[in-house]
């Protein structure tokens, strides 16, 4: 009888243990309060260069706010004290339901909105109550362009300069429209959708030139950056990102800091024969400009195809950063963040210009939170890597060797053909994708809205047919360690460490806005528009928008002199395709693997495209 008794108790214990294990599987990590890691140092800290970041005139004429891309508005009427009373001023429906990544622009009492495909341009008269639309410009881009836009038919913004609004359309045209009348001034056809080429980036207008780059790394499209004359739209110069030095505009003035970037025609030698012609390295992200040195800085995208075995060699000049002379386009220096990129880590993220205390003077640098998970600080005169510190969880590379500048990969994490490599962190969208961070000169911190995703990847032979995807990889993404898929980090670029951090349940795909009132604004993919304290990340105010927020919030001074905060919601982009593309969540490899990471998004938000403008009540 005794033996039977012990058997029963053993079974009981086992059952209880298994129940315990199953029930405390951590519930989807809700967004927790801020985790404070360090104190903000009192001493001198980074400041944006005066030329590239002039005093704030209350307007918002380009997505980066200024050439230094600080995304900082000096207006300080809204402060942590009074933000509690922030209220909705007016709204405007853009009539589109695709991913809305662009900011609204505000110039002297008029707000200009550029929508995703079909890229309508609205002008709203802010002087009138309810800001009715003055005029609407419809570029009517080719519908077939939707079939070659890899990651949702988005547009990352327009630019106002010298009375004209410049923007790109999905089917590869650049438009200049008169800001007052809404009439087209000129348009230039740059991309060819038959080759799979699209344009989604926001142009950079500086020194009389409009700089535009193309998208299509997943379609085997060779990357380039073209400078169009601001008045006529004619191409002043065009610099390719692969191929012979002549086409990459590499000449005598080209002095890359590191040895592995020096050599003749590396754009051909570091590729198998003819592979550079379909090698990607597209510039679809952010450019910055230093008016003092007339240098423009931008990053190049991932080499094609994703399957690294099909492109042995370093695949120059992909996943790197170029500095060029804006008038002639000649390359001055270049740094490659991921030689022979293994994980589609485009290096097109924002390049924030700043001057940091160095010895007893100041050193001109670039802050660059890269997709491979390292927060780079470059010397913007020579391209030397001053520091590269991980700002997210990384297990696919050991670090950046500051002597050679090269990323040190982890061999087991390299994806192989015919065998799935598991648990690659960060995933292909990287520790942070395109959504730019903001830099507040008051606190000296860089506020980074980014991701916490890992992935399994299995590669196979990619077949090239122009106009069709040229990827060669099956991917499944999922939440990284901790179970939260998004993180908002305040980063101290001087001491290379996190100051505070907020864990968000959904991936953070919205850019950040910093204001003079020591406030930071960002949106979540399920539609929460949040304001947190710049010093400690405490949540001060939030508003539930109609759809997920992946657009750039802005702050401007209205005609009545009051400070307004504006953001346009509309879930989409690569992360939100599962909603904007009406995908079927049962396929984990959908949208190049992102569907598996956001299977719950369709229950948390619907597609949309609505402008919200907030202000303090009178």
């Amino acid at each position: 009888m005794r033996r039977v008794g012990t058997a029963v108790t053993v079974i009981g214990v086992l059952a209880a243990a298994s129940a315990l294990i199953s029930c405390n599987k951590n519930p989807a990590a809700k967004s927790t309060g801020p985790l404070i890691y360090a104190k903000i140092e009192g001493g001198p800290h980074a400041l944006p260069p005066a030329a590239a970041a002039p005093a704030d005139d209350g307007n918002w004429t380009m997505p980066g706010k200024n050439y230094a891309s600080t995304r900082f508005s000096a207006l300080s009427q809204i402060t942590p004290a009074n933000i509690g009373k922030l209220a909705l001023a007016f709204t405007f429906s853009t009539g589109t339901t695709k991913g809305f990544e662009a900011p609204p622009l505000v110039v002297n009492g008029t707000m200009y909105i550029i929508t995703p495909f079909p890229n309508y341009l609205y002008a709203l008269d802010l002087t009138k109550p309810g800001a009715p639309a003055k005029w609407t410009f419809k570029p009517k881009p080719a519908a077939a362009a939707q079939g070659v836009a890899c990651c949702d038919v988005v547009n990352r913004g327009a630019v106002y300069d010298d009375g004209k609004i410049f923007f790109n359309t999905l089917d590869g045209q650049t438009f200049a429209v008169d800001a007052n009348s809404g009439q087209m001034v000129w348009r230039t056809q740059l991309g060819d959708i038959q080759k799979g080429e699209t344009i989604t980036m926001a142009p950079l207008v500086a020194d009389g030139k409009v700089l535009v780059g193309n998208s299509g790394g997943e379609m085997g499209v060779r990357g380039w950056v073209a400078a169009l004359d601001e008045g006529s739209g004619k191409i002043a110069w065009k610099a390719y990102a692969t191929g012979p030095d002549k086409e990459v505009l590499i000449g005598p003035r080209f002095h890359p800091f590191y040895a592995s970037d020096r050599g003749h025609d590396l754009g051909v030698k570091s590729w198998p024969p003819d592979a550079w012609k379909i090698g990607g390295a597209n510039t679809w992200g952010w450019l910055s400009y230093d008016p003092e040195t007339h240098q423009v800085f931008y990053g190049t995208g991932n080499p094609g195809p994703w399957n690294p075995d099909q492109r042995p060699g370093d695949n120059k000049w992909s996943t790197g950063i170029f500095a060029r002379d804006i008038s002639t386009g000649e390359a001055l220096w270049y740094y490659q963040a991921s030689p022979h990129d293994l994980f589609d880590h485009d290096n097109v993220n924002e390049l924030i210009l700043a001057d940091i205390p160095w010895g007893n003077g100041r050193r001109p640098v670039i802050f660059h939170p890269g997709r491979n998970g390292y927060f780079y600080v470059f010397d913007r005169r020579t391209g030397q890597v001053l520091s590269a510190t991980p700002y997210g969880y990384i297990n696919s590379s050991k670090g950046v060797d500051l002597k050679s500048g090269r990323l040190i990969p982890v061999a087991e994490k390299a994806p192989k053909s015919g065998r799935v490599t598991r648990d690659i962190c960060p995933a292909s969208p990287g520790a942070k994708d395109w959504n730019p961070s903001a830099f507040s000169p008051i606190t000296g911190l860089v506020y980074i809205p980014h991701l916490n995703l890992c992935q399994d990847e299995g590669n196979m032979q990619a077949n090239y047919i122009s106009g069709t995807p040229y990827v060669g990889a099956d991917v499944k993404m999922y939440a990284g360690p901790g179970g939260n898929r998004g993180v908002f980090t305040a980063w101290d670029p001087i001491n290379h460490r996190k100051v505070w951090e907020i864990k968000e349940d959904l991936p953070l795909w919205s850019p950040a806005l910093a204001t003079g009132g020591n406030l930071i604004f960002y949106g979540t993919m399920d539609g929460w528009f949040k304001a947190v304290d710049a010093r400690n990340g405490k949540l001060l105010w939030q508003f539930k928008a109609g759809s997920g927020i992946i657009g750039q919030p802005i702050s401007y001074r209205g005609p009545d002199g009051r400070q307004y905060i504006a953001v346009i919601c509309g879930v989409g982009g690569w992360a939100g395709t599962i909603v904007s593309g009406q995908m079927d969540p049962r396929d984990p490899t959908g949208a190049l693997g992102f569907a598996n990471a956001v299977k719950d998004l369709p229950m948390k938000t619907t597609a949309g495209g609505m402008l919200y403008v907030f202000t303090l009540p009178r």
Binding site: G418, R419, V420, G458
Partner: protein, 669 residues
């Protein structure tokens, strides 16, 4: 027959002393025992035969025919069905050779040819070779051991029906154009869900499940019969060598078949519900299939070869007029072959890039397995040396076996060496090797043993001259077919190609092989015709036409349904030669009920009288239920769930305990 225990207790309980009660009970039992009819020493001849025949006969008509549990009927059916599949497999081989007669020929298309060689390989290995050996054993072993039936006779019937349904399913699929086309070994990922669309590979994998269940069932029957049902006095040392061979084979089947059941089950689940056992991308492994398959594959070829060594031992003993030299050596050789066979499967995978050090162990193991077989050959030759060989037809097949098998064994030693195997693996050299050891090593002794035991099974002798002609036809046809294949293999002809280019020097060897195949076919036809004619017009054979020594020749030909009137007692390993006149017998078995004598495992001392289950339709119904579940589970996983109900009913009914009149009693005298 009232129940003894019930009334003994309720007469005057307390007062009567315990002793009186026991005496009353004994009287009752003695009374009871007198009524049982037993075959006492005085009950002999016609009277006993009639009563035994009444007890052991199966019910008349088609029901009886389907319900039989008589090991002789089941053995005959196994042999005839296996021969039928042998002919079908042979036709496949003929068609293959026609296509390969000349280079670049378009007689048979690629897909059809792949079906042909898959059907040829699968039929020969799974539907002919193993079942025919089990069939002969199921028929002869009870007779050779001096008992009236196998143990678990219903399981024996179930085994035959599962084998039959497996064969019908495979050949039904061939007719319905769902024949498998992935080879008899079906390597993944070719046989996996992506590269074998449709249900072809599933049919193959399910045929494996059928034949594996049949082989396991037969192995259990044979093991328990050999160990527990031997005639009294037949100690393990005195057991005939064929029985030893079948014991080793049965144990090998029990250990090897589950491995192929597991890997074919995993293949079906990969193909049906998308599991990732063999999906290299999801960290499964294509080599997992090869390891599991060949862990069964190599013992399988010894399962086919060892019974043949048993046949040769029997024939050499009879036709050299003396027992095989070194009985203990041959037994130890059989056992060590059985054990070593499990340790060398990786020699099928020398080209897959496994570590070279590991390969050297398997080279050593593959070479060492030829030592026990070498010893057996020595013992047979020593028997010939000491005996006076009579060259009747079975002995011719023994000589043909030795001449052919030794060549096969030696080429086997060659492909055991890694550097040689890397050139010879998957070429026609290996095709020649395994046909030498399978046809030379198993089919020659099989043809010999058919001729040898034909009189015992049918009561008539096979024609001697036709037998000699068919032997020489088989011998010449075989060597003309398969010796040139050594050369075509060395000249660079890989296996399983439906055609080959001209100009590589392969034309002559392939043409010779095709001619040889027709001679071989003619020889088989002649053998079968000889068998059929001899059924009716063969010379009447008495109980012991060859003057052999083992017990199966002690009863009439064909043996009555109860095999022996009295269970013989054995005092030596060649009973019929060492006993003048009547064999000593043991009596005491019932004549009104089917009953056999169980003896102890080693000394074969009489142990129990075991009632033998009656003929029943349930094994057939059970096999049909299991068959339907297997076939349906090719198409939907739910078949396994809903299929359990009919199977449960059939097996419950099969095992339902009949009301036992009384328990088996210990032998008193």
């Amino acid at each position: 027959m009232t129940d003894v225990r019930a009334d003994a207790f309720d007469a005057a309980p307390a007062r009567q002393s315990e002793r009186e009660r026991v005496e009353a009970e004994n009287r009752q039992l003695a009374e009871e025992r007198k009524k049982i009819a037993r075959d006492g020493p005085k009950l002999k001849g016609e009277k006993l035969a009639a009563r035994l025949d009444l007890a052991w006969r199966r019910p008349r008509g088609i029901i009886g025919w389907l319900a039989t549990v008589d090991h002789k009927e089941i053995g005959r059916r196994y042999i005839i069905t296996a021969l039928g599949f042998f002919v079908l497999g042979g036709i496949m081989a003929l068609l293959m050779r026609l296509q390969l007669a000349q280079p670049d020929s378009n007689l048979i298309g690629a897909e059809r040819y792949n079906q042909l060689f898959t059907m040829h390989g699968s039929t020969m290995m799974f539907l002919f070779a193993v079942p025919v050996m089990e069939g002969v054993a199921v028929y002869i072993i009870p007779l050779m051991l001096g008992t009236r039936s196998t143990a678990f006779p219903r399981l024996n019937a179930f085994s035959y029906y599962m084998y039959l349904f497996g064969g019908l399913m495979l050949w039904g699929a061939f007719v319905l154009n769902i024949a498998p086309d992935v080879g008899w070994f079906a390597y993944t990922p070719l046989s996996g869900p992506q590269f074998s669309p449709g249900k072809r590979a599933d049919v193959w994998a399910q045929m494996i499940t059928f034949t594996e269940v049949a082989a396991l069932a037969a192995a259990v029957v044979l093991t328990s019969t050999i160990l527990k049902c031997r005639a009294p006095g037949m100690t393990l040392a005195r057991m005939p060598l064929f029985a030893w061979a079948m014991l080793v084979v049965a144990v090998m089947i029990i250990f090897s078949m589950p491995s192929v059941a597991l890997c074919s089950g995993m293949l079906i689940s990969d193909r049906l519900v998308g599991t990732n056992f063999y999906n290299a991308a999801e960290h499964g492994d294509a080599l997992l299939w090869q390891h599991l398959f060949w862990f069964f594959g190599h013992p399988e070829v010894y399962i086919i070869f060892l019974p043949a060594t048993g046949f040769v031992s029997v024939m050499v003993e009879t036709f050299c007029r003396r027992p095989v030299f070194g009985h203990a050596v041959v037994v130890l050789a059989l056992i060590s072959t059985g054990i070593l066979a499990f340790g060398l499967w990786v020699h099928h995978m020398f080209a897959t890039g496994l570590p070279r050090v590991g390969y050297s162990f398997y080279t050593a193991a593959s070479m060492s397995v030829s030592i026990p077989t070498g010893l057996q050959i020595f013992c047979w030759l020593a028997t010939i040396w000491d005996g006076r060989p009579r060259f009747q037809v079975p002995m011719l097949y023994v000589v043909g076996f030795i001449v052919t098998f030794v060549i096969g064994g030696l080429t086997g030693v060659m492909v055991a060496a890694v550097p040689l195997d890397l050139q010879l693996h998957d070429t026609y050299f290996v095709v020649a090797h395994f046909h030498y050891v399978l046809i030379g090593g198993a089919v020659f002794p099989l043809l010999g043993i058919f001729t040898y035991w034909f009189p015992k099974i049918t009561g008539r002798m096979m024609n001697d001259t036709v037998g000699k002609v068919s032997f020489w036809l088989v011998f010449v046809g075989f060597h003309l077919t398969f010796f040139p294949m050594h050369l075509s293999g060395l000249l660079g002809m890989p296996r399983r190609v439906y055609t080959y280019p001209a100009g590589l020097g392969l034309e002559v060897p392939n043409l010779l092989s095709t001619l040889g195949t027709f001679i071989l076919a003619a020889a088989v036809v002649l053998f079968v015709v000889n068998g059929l004619i001899s059924l009716y017009r063969g010379v009447i054979a008495g109980p012991n036409p060859w003057g052999a020594a083992s017990l199966e020749w002690a009863t009439s030909s064909p043996p009555p349904v109860y095999n022996f009137e009295h269970i013989p007692v054995v005092e030596s390993d060649t009973p019929l030669w060492d006993v003048e006149g009547e064999l000593p017998v043991v009596t005491g078995l019932r004549v009104d009920e089917k009953e056999i004598l169980l003896t102890t495992v080693v000394a074969a001392a009489p142990d129990l009288r075991e009632p033998v289950p009656a003929a029943s339709l349930w094994p057939l119904i059970g096999a049909m239920a299991v068959g339907i579940v297997f076939v349906a589970s090719i198409f939907s996983p739910w078949a396994l769930v809903f299929g359990l109900v009919p199977c449960g009913i059939a097996f419950a009914a099969w095992f339902w305990p009949k009301e036992l009149k009384r328990n088996p009693e210990p032998v008193i005298s």
